[in-house]
C-alpha cells in the first residue's frame, strides 16, 4: 500500500516540479525580484514561530526554553477561564462592528468627493488638513474629546444646552461611550484612510470616463458606476486588513475608558494587558497572542471566503 501511495505521489508531484523548473527558467527575473522579500518573510515572520512553544510551557526567562517544563494548554485555559474574557471579547467585536459599519465607507466617500473638486489648491489644502488628526496620539485626542464632551464646560454640551437638552456625561455613560469611541476613531483616521483610495482613483483609466461622457452619464452616475466600482478591490483589501486588526483594539480604549464604562468598553486588549501586569509572564502573553492570531485568521479566511462566494474571486 505504502509503496503504491508513494509512487502515486511521485507521479502527481512530477508535473508540478517540471512546471516549477520551466517557470524558473522562463521567469528568472521574477523569481529574483521575489527572493529578498521572501527571505525576509521567512526570517522575520516564520523563524519566530519556533518561540511560540513558550505558550505551552512554564517558561522562565532565566531557565531558557529547553529547560522550561511543558504545561500543555494551561495558559490558554487561564485565559479562557478569566472572568471577563467573554465580556471583553464581545465588547471588542461589537465596537469593531460599529466602527466598520459607520466608519468604513467614510474614507471612500471623502476620496470620491475630493476627486470631484476642480480647484487644485483647495483640494491640496483640504487633503492636508484631513489627514492631520492621524498624527496626533490617542492620548492627545482622548484629552481633547474629554474637554469637548465635558458635561460642565464642554462645547458639545453647551450647544445641546441651546436646544434645552440637559448636559450628558458622554465619557461616563454606558449608553454613549461606544459612540464616543466610534466617532473619535472615524475622526482620527478617516482622512488618512482616504489616501489609499485617492491613489486608487488616480489609477482609473481616463478612457472609462470619456466613454461614459459620450454615453451621456452625468457626474453622479460616473461616481456611482465608474469610480466606486473601481475602488472595490482596494476597499476589500482595506476591509481585510481591518478585520485582521479587530482584536488589536487597545490604545484608543485604554486612554479613553474608565471603570464606570468598562462593562461596555473593556476590550480583549485592555483586559489581557491588566492580567499581564499582574502576572508579569511572557508565556501567558504569548498564549493570548496566539489566541488573537488564530481568531483573526479565522475571521480573515471567512471574509475572504464570503467575498469569493459573492464575487467569484477571493480578495487575495
Amino acid at each position: 500500500m505504502e509503496v503504491i501511495q508513494k509512487i502515486e505521489e511521485k507521479t502527481r508531484r512530477k508535473p508540478v516540479r517540471n512546471k516549477f523548473l520551466r517557470d524558473l527558467k522562463k521567469h528568472k527575473f521574477i523569481y529574483l525580484l521575489v527572493l529578498p522579500g521572501f527571505l525576509h518573510i521567512l526570517l522575520f515572520d516564520y523563524y519566530p514561530f519556533y518561540y511560540l512553544q513558550i505558550a505551552f510551557k512554564d517558561y522562565s526567562v532565566f531557565r531558557g526554553i529547553s529547560d522550561s517544563p511543558w504545561i500543555g494548554f494551561q495558559n490558554f485555559v487561564d485565559l479562557f477561564e478569566s472572568k471577563y474574557f467573554l465580556q471583553s471579547l464581545g465588547n471588542t467585536l461589537m465596537i469593531n462592528l460599529y466602527m466598520l459599519g459607520f466608519g468604513f465607507f467614510v474614507p471612500v466617500i471623502i476620496a470620491i468627493l475630493i476627486n470631484e473638486i476642480r480647484m487644485v489648491h483647495f483640494v491640496r489644502t483640504v487633503q492636508s488638513v484631513l489627514y492631520l488628526p492621524h498624527f496626533l496620539s490617542w492620548v492627545i485626542i482622548g484629552g481633547i474629546f474629554a474637554t469637548m464632551l465635558s458635561p460642565s464646560s464642554g462645547l458639545v454640551n453647551v450647544i445641546l444646552g441651546w436646544f434645552g437638552v440637559d448636559p450628558i456625561f458622554f465619557m461616563a455613560d454606558t449608553r454613549w461611550f461606544r459612540s464616543v469611541l466610534v466617532f473619535s476613531q472615524i475622526w482620527k483616521e478617516a482622512g488618512w484612510g482616504s489616501i489609499i483610495f485617492l491613489a486608487a482613483i488616480v489609477g482609473i483609466g481616463t478612457e472609462q470616463y470619456e466613454s461614459a461622457i459620450v454615453d451621456g452619464a452625468n457626474r453622479f452616475q460616473r461616481m456611482l458606476y465608474i469610480t466606486f466600482p473601481s475602488l472595490v478591490p482596494t476597499m476589500l483589501v482595506v476591509l481585510l486588513l481591518q478585520i485582521s486588526k479587530l482584536l488589536k483594539l487597545f490604545e484608543q480604549v485604554f486612554v479613553m475608558y474608565n471603570p464606570v464604562v468598562a462593562e461596555v468598553s473593556e476590550t480583549l486588549g485592555t483586559y489581557v494587558y491588566q492580567i499581564g501586569i499582574m502576572r508579569g509572564d511572557i508565556a501567558f502573553a504569548t498564549a493570548a497572542g496566539i489566541f488573537n492570531s488564530i481568531f483573526s485568521l479565522v475571521l480573515v479566511l471567512a471574509a475572504n471566503h464570503i467575498v469569493k462566494m459573492i464575487r467569484g474571486t477571493p480578495i487575495i
Binding site: 527575473f29 531558557g64 471603570p259 483586559y271 499582574m278
Partner: protein
C-alpha cells in the same frame, strides 16, 4: 508616460544602475545584486574608548546599569560615570528605559542573555524567580560595611531570601500626604481638620466658599483617580490600609493577613464619605476621567484646594504654583486620626530594587559599583551632583553649573536617603512639609508573600477590576451604597483563595 517623475528623485539612485543595464532587449546580467534589499549590517560599538583618567590597578572593563527612568539630567549621570571610571577603571553605561516598556525589555534581555550587569527589577515575583535560578548575586559582604551596617535590619528584610541579602536600601519609606492651599485656608479662616468630618467640612469650604475670590463657583475641594492611586490618605481615615492591592494587611495581633474589603462597615463609611463629596460637589464631578497629570494641573491652577502626593515631593510644586499665582502657598494637612489611627501610612520597605546579575565578568568590582550607586553618595550624585562640580551654594541658594540641571533637581530625593544626609541648601518648604507628616504609620510590607502567590497572579487582576468598577459606580451614584455587599459576594471566592495561599506562604516564610 515618458515624463520625468520627481517622486523617483529619491529612489532613482538605487534603481538607476539596473535601469541602464536593463534597457529593452538587453541581456539579464547582474540583476541579483540590485534586487538585494537587505544591506550589510553596520554594527557600531558605541564610543566608550575613553582613556583611563587615573592610573589604578584595575584593568579596564565595561559595565552596564539598566533602570527605569529618563536621562534628562545627563550631566549628573556623566559625573557618576566619571567617578566609577576613576575609582575602578570601569566604563559604566547608565541606560534609562521608558518605564512602560522596561519590564518587557528586561525580560527579553534576560531571555537573550543580554542583561546588564546591574539591573532594576521592580516586579517582586521576577526577583524571586531570578534568585531561584541563580541569576542574581547576593551582596551580604557589602552590608557588613559602612554605612549599611548602621541601618536597621528591617531595611534588608524584604530583599532577603534564605538568609542571603540581594537588595540594598536606597530610599526610606515616606507616606503620601494631602497638600492644600494655605492661602485659601487662611483667607477662609479654616481650622485645620483632625477628624474625617472636619476634613470634609474643610474641603467643603474650599469648594463652596469661593476661596479664589473671583465670585464664581468654580472650585472643588479635591479630585481622585478612578484607579484609586494617590487617594490613600482619604481611605486610611476609615481603614487600616489603602484599598489598592486587594486591601491586604497584616493583623499584627493575630499574625494573620486579612483583606480590608471584609471590614464591611468601615468600607461603607469610606465610600459614603466619597459618595457624599461627589453628590455635593466637593469632589470634582469629572474625577472619573482623571489621569494623574490632570489632577496636578487642577491643583496648580486653583481648581481644587487639595491634592495628594508623596510628602517629600513638594519642592517643585511649591515653586510651580507660584508661576501662575505668586500668592499661592502649599503645604500638607496634619494627620487626621481615624478608626485605625493616623491617615498617613506607608509600606515599610526601603529596597532600591536594584540587583547584581550573574553576567558580570568581575563580580567584585560590580559589587563596588553597585554599592556606590545605591549609597547615600551615589543617590546624592544622582539628585544633585557634587558641590563645586555641578553646583555652588551662595547665601543658602543653589546655583547650578551644569546646564538645565535645576529643572530636574528635587530635594525630596535627598530627603529619602535612609540615613540622614544634609541637603545642599536649606529647604524650609520641604522641612515644614515633612514635619506635618510626623507620626505617620508604617505598615508591614506584604510584597514577599503576595508576589509568591499563584492565586494573586491569576486572580489579582480581576479583583482589581471589579473593585474599581464597583467603587467608582458607588461614589458616582450609579450604584447604591448597599451594593457594596454584592461586590463582596462577587470577589469573595477569589479573595478567600488568595488569603489562604498568602497566609500559608506567610507562615512558611516566618
Amino acid at each position: 508616460m515618458k515624463k520625468k517623475r520627481t517622486l523617483f528623485g529619491a529612489i532613482i539612485p538605487l534603481l538607476v544602475i539596473p535601469i541602464i543595464a536593463a534597457g529593452c532587449g538587453s541581456s539579464e546580467t547582474n540583476v541579483g545584486q540590485s534586487g538585494e534589499s537587505v544591506p550589510p549590517a553596520a554594527h557600531n560599538q558605541s564610543g566608550t574608548g575613553e582613556k583611563p583618567v587615573t592610573e589604578n590597578e584595575y584593568p579596564e572593563m565595561d559595565m552596564r546599569y539598566m533602570l527605569r527612568g529618563t536621562d534628562k539630567a545627563r550631566s549628573l549621570l556623566d559625573l557618576m560615570e566619571k567617578k566609577v571610571k576613576e575609582r575602578w577603571n570601569v566604563n559604566l553605561e547608565i541606560e534609562m528605559v521608558d518605564k512602560n516598556i522596561y519590564e518587557e525589555k528586561l525580560n527579553v534581555a534576560f531571555a537573550a542573555g543580554n542583561q546588564a550587569d546591574i539591573v532594576e527589577i521592580g516586579n517582586q515575583s521576577l526577583v524571586a524567580e531570578a534568585i531561584q535560578n541563580g541569576a542574581l548575586i547576593p551582596v551580604d559582604d557589602i552590608i557588613q560595611r559602612e554605612p549599611w551596617n548602621q541601618m536597621p535590619e528591617s531595611f534588608f528584610k524584604t530583599s532577603s531570601v534564605d538568609g542571603k541579602v540581594y537588595g540594598l536600601p536606597q530610599f526610606r519609606s515616606l507616606p503620601e500626604t494631602i497638600y492644600y492651599r494655605v492661602d485659601w485656608a487662611e483667607k477662609l479662616n479654616l481650622k485645620l481638620p483632625t477628624t474625617p468630618d472636619e476634613l470634609y467640612e474643610f474641603l467643603y469650604a474650599m469648594a463652596k466658599s469661593d476661596p479664589d475670590g473671583d465670585g464664581v463657583d468654580n472650585t472643588y475641594g479635591f479630585t481622585i483617580r478612578p484607579d484609586f492611586n494617590e487617594t490613600s490618605a482619604y481611605f486610611q481615615m476609615f481603614l487600616p490600609v489603602h484599598v489598592t492591592n486587594m486591601g491586604l494587611y497584616l493583623d499584627e495581633e493575630e499574625g494573620v493577613i486579612k483583606s480590608s474589603y471584609y471590614l464591611i462597615d468601615d468600607m461603607k463609611a469610606a465610600l459614603a464619605w466619597f459618595r457624599r463629596a461627589h453628590a455635593e460637589g466637593v469632589l470634582d464631578p469629572e474625577w472619573i476621567l482623571e489621569v494623574q497629570s490632570n489632577s496636578e494641573d487642577k491643583f496648580m491652577t486653583g481648581k481644587t484646594g487639595a491634592w495628594m502626593k508623596g510628602v517629600q515631593w513638594i519642592g517643585p510644586r511649591a515653586a510651580k504654583i507660584k508661576q501662575g499665582n505668586p500668592d499661592a502657598e502649599i503645604t500638607s494637612l496634619p494627620i487626621v486620626n481615624g478608626t485605625y489611627g493616623a491617615n498617613y501610612a506607608t509600606i515599610n520597605s526601603s529596597t532600591a530594587n536594584v540587583y547584581l546579575t550573574n553576567t558580570s565578568k568581575d563580580t567584585e568590582r560590580a559589587k563596588l559599583v553597585l554599592e556606590y550607586l545605591l549609597s547615600p553618595e551615589g543617590t546624592l550624585d544622582m539628585a544633585a551632583g557634587e558641590e563645586g562640580v555641578t553646583f555652588t551654594v551662595e547665601n543658602g541658594e543653589i546655583h547650578w553649573l551644569a546646564e538645565g540641571a535645576e529643572q530636574y533637581y528635587n530635594s525630596g530625593l535627598i530627603a529619602s536617603i535612609p540615613i540622614d544626609v544634609e541637603l545642599p541648601a536649606p529647604d524650609p518648604v520641604l522641612e515644614n512639609n515633612m514635619e506635618r507628616a510626623r507620626g505617620f504609620r508604617l505598615v508591614e510590607d506584604l510584597a514577599p508573600y503576595v508576589s509568591a502567590s499563584e492565586a494573586v497572579a491569576r486572580r489579582g487582576a480581576d479583583i482589581k477590576k471589579v473593585m474599581e468598577e464597583y467603587f467608582s459606580k458607588i461614589i458616582i451614584g450609579d450604584l447604591e451604597l448597599d451594593q457594596y455587599d454584592k461586590f463582596v459576594e462577587e470577589v469573595s471566592g477569589d479573595l478567600d483563595a488568595i488569603l489562604e495561599e498568602v497566609n500559608a506562604i506567610y507562615v512558611t516564610m516566618n
